[in-house]
Symmetry: C2
Subunit: 220 residues, 2 copies
Amino acid sequence: MNNSLTEENYLKALFNIANKNGEVNVAELSKSLDIKMPTVTSMMKKLAKKKLVYYESYKPLRLTEKGKREAGLIIRKHRLTEMFLVDKMKLGWEDVHDIAEQIEHIKSPVFFEKMDEMLDYPKVDPHGSPIPDIDGKVVLKDYYKLSDCQTGEVVTLAAVINASSEFLKFLNTREMRLGLKIRIKEFEPFDKSIVVSYGKRKAEVLSSVASARLLVERES
Amino acid sequence: MNNSLTEENYLKALFNIANKNGEVNVAELSKSLDIKMPTVTSMMKKLAKKKLVYYESYKPLRLTEKGKREAGLIIRKHRLTEMFLVDKMKLGWEDVHDIAEQIEHIKSPVFFEKMDEMLDYPKVDPHGSPIPDIDGKVVLKDYYKLSDCQTGEVVTLAAVINASSEFLKFLNTREMRLGLKIRIKEFEPFDKSIVVSYGKRKAEVLSSVASARLLVERES
DNA sequence: GTATAAAGTTAGATTAATCTAACAAAATTT
DNA sequence: AAATTTTGTTAGATTAATCTAACTTTATAC
């Protein structure tokens, strides 16, 4: 639990990329961090010595339990910070990522405990991503992609996948926020775009690219 | 204005040590940063290339105007952060230095502007040190050391010199805070200790070591 | 005013994190 | 299954920031 800023960034990336089986390629990591493959390989050997990742030549990378915990705690700090910046400091949800990216490396348990307390122990960040608990564990909710829902369904916007600043600004101009109730009015088979209504907007068109990045909760 | 974390720490130390004439020795800097002299020398050459310090072999070090500005802006971020941590996050004035030491390096103008706004543009930090303005300029008030005041005087506690956690805890247990009105009741020539009264405390003894670290405002 | 001490510099080594070039293994294509 | 592409590794160089050892300059003491 005393890793360099650089090591923390590798852990975080491993945690974030880890798909289904939790396996990650050197190439993926390299691309995601914008660091050349040989550098990634040598860092993996280093993290393996610290028992944070399992590393074997030519095999996929995997975080150890220790690695998962430490990565989870960094992401916890990142997401708590994003929530703090939006809720307490009134920054836009499209502006908080880069700041949180820096503050997540602050070493000070009290500081983040205080944040957590002031926010009344939030479970998700401003983009709907779950905040790992104090042991670094994440509970994943089973949301659906809006693009996978059926015509006629009424759903609630719960999270944004790959919440880039550009996409969030796109949502802002359409007055879309988390918690919003959305009715699916039409589905266009040709390009898989959909027409939805919500709030005062009666017929908003969303491309498949956009709707595949919106996660929703179906009516209970 | 794009310096490494390390460079920022040198600039800050130079700014803080700079006494009367603004000159600083390599030895002082070395001691203050706990970095050996040869390392300091080579960093000074580097900062000189960046036009942040004037450097000539065997001569005292001096910040350039550019160096002063950039150092002032880092200290501005440090002190704004301390104020934010105390005022908005309810941390004790003895606990904020180490956190601010990390947050001062965050690159995000908006973040600090927001802090400044939320705090209603404070002029001093929780220890009474002035917060440099947006151009990195500091206005020094002419405070007096409590140890230099006369018996009978009534003064207001305005700032703490060298606000270490230990000293601040010492003040906490004696219920001393900034803004406190203090009457000097006695002066002991032998050890230069003084007896003061304030609030409900009628006769508190302060050693010369303590009273020399308290800065006060005299009655106007 | 010489001797000693303190302050400062130079030279060269070390560590962390990165890179490029060249090679090796695994996966994919034909 | 051989050829090609993609993926991964090794070897060696580079940069920033640090160190120690040895030397030089400036300041202080007697």
